[in-house]
Symmetry: C2
Subunit: 339 residues, 2 copies
Amino acid sequence: MSISKESIINLGHGSGGELTRELLDTIIFKTFNNPYLNQKHDGSIVKIEGEIAMSTDSFVINPIFFKGGNIGALAVHGTVNDVAMCGAIPKYLSLSFIIEEGLPMSEFKTIVAAIKDAADQSGVQIITGDTKVVERGKGDKIFINTTGIGQVHKKANISTANIKPGDCIIVNGQIAQHGIAIMSEREGLEFESDIVSDSTNLNHLTIGLLDKFGDKIKLFRDPTRGGLGTVLCEISTEINLGVFMKETDLPLDKQVAAVCEMLGLDPLYVANEGVFLAVVDPSIATEVATFMQQHPKGKNATNVGVFTTEHPQKVVMESSIGGKRIVSPLVGEQLPRIC
Amino acid sequence: MSISKESIINLGHGSGGELTRELLDTIIFKTFNNPYLNQKHDGSIVKIEGEIAMSTDSFVINPIFFKGGNIGALAVHGTVNDVAMCGAIPKYLSLSFIIEEGLPMSEFKTIVAAIKDAADQSGVQIITGDTKVVERGKGDKIFINTTGIGQVHKKANISTANIKPGDCIIVNGQIAQHGIAIMSEREGLEFESDIVSDSTNLNHLTIGLLDKFGDKIKLFRDPTRGGLGTVLCEISTEINLGVFMKETDLPLDKQVAAVCEMLGLDPLYVANEGVFLAVVDPSIATEVATFMQQHPKGKNATNVGVFTTEHPQKVVMESSIGGKRIVSPLVGEQLPRIC
């Protein structure tokens, strides 16, 4: 009955009995060893000063292992980044697994180790959790929910309501990498050089920006599912302003662009996991881009567009040959189970 | 493309594009209408004074509709109760869906309505969420994660470390009802009168107890998966004390007892969703039981046992005919997907 002799997860590991306890003791508590989790209760008690940001995501990505990461690291990055986008300093995560019976124990261990690494790099602690197991054919290997709480940065005043015409949209890095990496894994596509998911934590960079620029940062947003195009459409609709951007300004890896072309995908709608946009006062746009470029997570930072009263609720992109097109909201699904 | 014409959930509803937005606007935001959620961001900002309790659970119960509730109400009760067991006042929940393609929209709406009702009755608000859709055969109708945060009660000092020999274990109500209700749904068993899940929120009662008895309450714990027996085994092992209890003291409905007998199940290991135990100083044991009995969620409250130095780390139960047996920790799975 010892875990070492168990090669797969079975229903007993989710029953709340001794097998559950053993799984927790030998893998979870051992890995995430911290005083909060070590209470081994159904919840944890922490203290956060001031306002609290809270965000949740369930990760159902397929495949669970991919170039540049796995579902475990992604589950940390995704929620850490969502808390960061609120203008907050991510502090604590909850961690909840829904495992399909039959998942190799070795894969579970690899995923848990990746969660630990990602949490350490992000500066957050896993303080409470849950493990459920479903029968074969009633899940798909593993789904992970993380919910994060963080302390709102004292200088932050993040709100779409603060955006004014003329404000600039600075993007930290190259778009569409996560979606294309997953797509190529899934379809078994082989490229000359590898396209790797950009899954990473962005909180250190966003906190740095708030430290330096405070409330001149109007908005952070991470364009994950739906991509940059969908996020810009949502914001422009919400605040009744237009967005004007040039295709040539988009930070886009040549190889990713080529694969998008080949597969008939528009990179504006392809998912990202290490990209965010900052909407800033035009007076600091260049300075913000330069600041980002000096940070490892912002090397390819670019000013990609501007808010305008010209065409309210419409995102307009000028193509490389000078034509203009409207970037429409994404309807239906492009790449399912991308995060 | 309007939701009213859609009879089922499809992959597009989880893609992050327009169908997702429409699902959120017409069902989620409309139902949970509150200023936090209405920010429509990836996270929400709230304020909690003092210490924060956090707890998470993923609900995978099968069937999703059962006598006495459904997965939606259960997902609220479960997490509200876990936060309450920390000695806290539950305040805010996140809500995350993993839906299998093909779920009838009508069932989704029923579940969302039940979540709203349960949240209102518990006095908590849904402030942030996530919706993912997986292909047919890669999930099972719907899984729900809720994560809750609450304010630790000013008078609370909940910890197993406070438990002393002689402390009493008061249980608020009849055990094993949830597990048996689910089991009978699943197996299509018919009984003369219906056994109904006890799924409910316990926070108003636990807060009342803390208001009145403060730190004389040593511990709250809700015996869900694994049942009362598993929880008592865990506590007695952790604090190196024994538990002595009498079978005749256990609050157990006669019909539930009969079904357990028939199915060969020990009610001590059957899951509960509306039961909790309070470990209290013996000087207030009777008063605590009486206080509970006056509350709608504690009508069957009973002192079921006592902590002792006699047989450390062992739970011993005296049967109705005077024999004694050791209540062992549950190994493996008894009833999978019970919550």
